[in-house]
């Protein structure tokens, strides 16, 4: 059994938050290159060029890509050969998140939802969001950090369609919400679509879809088919980068599915902005590997 050093988890949680804010994953950079090569609108081309330049400026000046430090999300996947104190793990992640904010310092974008008081720690009730899951992997623990920007998070929608609405209802909902979100969600985006489950699971699936690496596909063949169809439809709308016109509205549409009830047909949309940031660490017996 691999024992997890809780102090290393705290340091890693801190490091991942700062790293995610500065370095865009390679799949997103390649996504930009692909859109830039195909964009036909002059305004759209010029905006994509500025976005690509910003990625380079952030790396050169060792600065954050975007001012929005987001709502911090940590996705933890624990392998079966791992021994860890779960409560201590969650507390360490929270401390790491708080230290990143105070020590760097980062803007704390997190407030109490009613009083709007900011503790200047990026933490609060139930935040950072920490999702725990388990894998078949042996001696391996993975922590993924996602600073979820608010401009795109405000582009979140849920509809409890009914069975009579069919897949048509799902498709229409995605297209209409992409139009409603327009430029407010900082396109080009990754449109995450959750289909099925309960209302809360459906919304969670949409977030998983929106934060999946570009190039990955839905495991379910029907979901994967919808991904292609919906991406074509969303990019045919002409919303374009920043909603100022063009072909590049979405890098991709990602779909995640769950089984649902015979009377239900829920669909959720969660959008990731062009600053599609994430960072990850994998703990193994030989050490900690930092990546995306």
């Amino acid at each position: 059994m691999m024992k997890i050093d809780i102090a290393a988890v705290e340091e890693t949680a801190k490091l991942l938050y700062i790293r995610a804010l500065k370095l865009l994953p390679d799949d997103i950079k390649r996504g930009f290159e692909r859109l830039d090569a195909a964009e036909s609108d002059p305004t759209g081309r010029s905006i994509l060029a500025t976005m690509i330049r910003n990625i380079a400026v952030a790396e050169r000046t060792d600065n954050l890509l975007c001012q929005d430090t987001g709502i911090p999300i940590y996705n933890v996947v624990i392998g079966r050969g791992v021994e860890v104190d779960g409560a201590a793990l969650k507390a360490a992640i929270r401390r790491g998140c708080e230290r990143a904010t105070r020590e760097y310092p980062l803007r704390s974008s997190v407030v109490h939802p009613i009083t709007r008081v900011n503790q200047h720690s990026s933490c609060g009730a139930r935040v950072p969001v920490i999702n725990l899951d388990f894998s078949e992997a042996e001696e391996e623990l993975r922590i993924e950090m996602i600073p979820k920007g608010s401009g795109s998070e405000n582009g979140s929608f849920l509809k409890m369609c009914i069975p009579a609405d069919g897949v048509a209802g799902i498709k229409r909902f995605v297209v209409e919400r992409a139009i409603e979100a327009g430029g407010k969600v900082c396109p080009p985006t990754i449109v995450g679509v959750g289909i099925g489950g309960t209302s809360d699971l459906c919304a969670h699936l949409a977030k998983l879809a929106a934060t999946r690496p570009l190039g990955s596909r839905c495991d379910d063949p029907e979901g994967a088919k919808l991904e292609s169809e919906l991406a074509r439809a969303v990019n045919a709308l002409g919303i374009g980068p920043q909603g100022l016109g063009g072909d590049s509205t979405a890098f991709a549409v990602h779909v995640e599915i769950a089984a649902t009830h015979i009377t239900m047909n829920p669909v959720a949309v969660n959008i990731q902005c062009h600053s599609a940031r994430r960072a990850s660490a994998v703990f193994r017996p030989g050490g900690i590997e930092i990546g995306f």
């Binding site: 310092p105 709007r116 405000n154 430029g183 169809e229 920043q242 902005c273 600053s275």
Partner: protein, 203 residues
């Protein structure tokens, strides 16, 4: 479609001379405002120390570092990362910003709505679109944080930046009732029918 270099503050004539599609680069003071800033200014009627007449405001809440007060950092803050947030949430504050404070230029991302468009037309102002999510670049246009007010709202304080070569920014809504967002929305509405048909759906 012209490019203009503007040193702030500007007068009504200069604001009305700008047309959708023009680009603008700004020099001088620039004031940072956000949701909480304006909720406190207008809903809670808090006074502000700054004279905003003829000035530009930007929808932002920056990342800053507390530093000793110096000539370089007169407010005791160094800019770390200054970007721009989605404007639409602050739609209802455009008119009071212009009417009560004399603001001429609003900078943001994602655009503003009908009420702002009417305020720009009646009172003489424009909306300048910046590219959201490009804060590393934007930060290089900020010379200093000169002053700060309502700092109990930090990071949503009322910031006074000094900027040079801030831009180019795109005039996306003008004082003649023009809006680039309206033009795009019309185009999207036209294309929606074909997009739905390709998915096998009725328009």
């Amino acid at each position: 479609m012209a490019h203009r270099e503007l040193t702030l503050p500007i007068d009504e004539t200069a604001a009305r001379a700008l047309t959708v599609g023009d680009t603008v680069t700004l020099h001088g003071p620039l004031f940072g405002i956000r949701d909480a800033t304006q909720i406190h200014m207008f809903d809670r009627k808090r006074n502000v120390r700054f004279d905003l007449r003829g000035q530009a405001v930007i929808h932002t809440a920056p990342n800053v570092r507390k530093v000793p007060v110096s000539a370089e950092h007169p407010a005791g803050y160094a800019p770390v990362c200054v970007g721009t947030t989605t404007s639409a949430r602050m739609e209802r504050f455009t008119r009071p910003l212009m009417h009560q404070h004399g603001v001429r230029l609003v900078i943001g991302k994602g655009g503003l709505g009908e009420e702002s468009k009417a305020a720009f037309r009646e009172l003489g102002g424009v909306y300048l679109a910046i590219i959201g999510g490009t804060a590393a670049l934007e930060t290089t246009w900020i010379e200093a944080i000169e002053d700060v007010d309502l700092d109990d709202l930090n990071p949503e304080s009322l910031w006074k930046f000094r900027v040079r070569d801030f831009g180019p920014l795109l005039v996306a809504m003008d004082a003649k009732g023009g809006s680039l967002y309206d033009r795009i929305a019309e185009r999207v509405e036209d294309r929606k029918r074909a997009a739905l048909a390709a998915l096998g759906l009725e328009p």
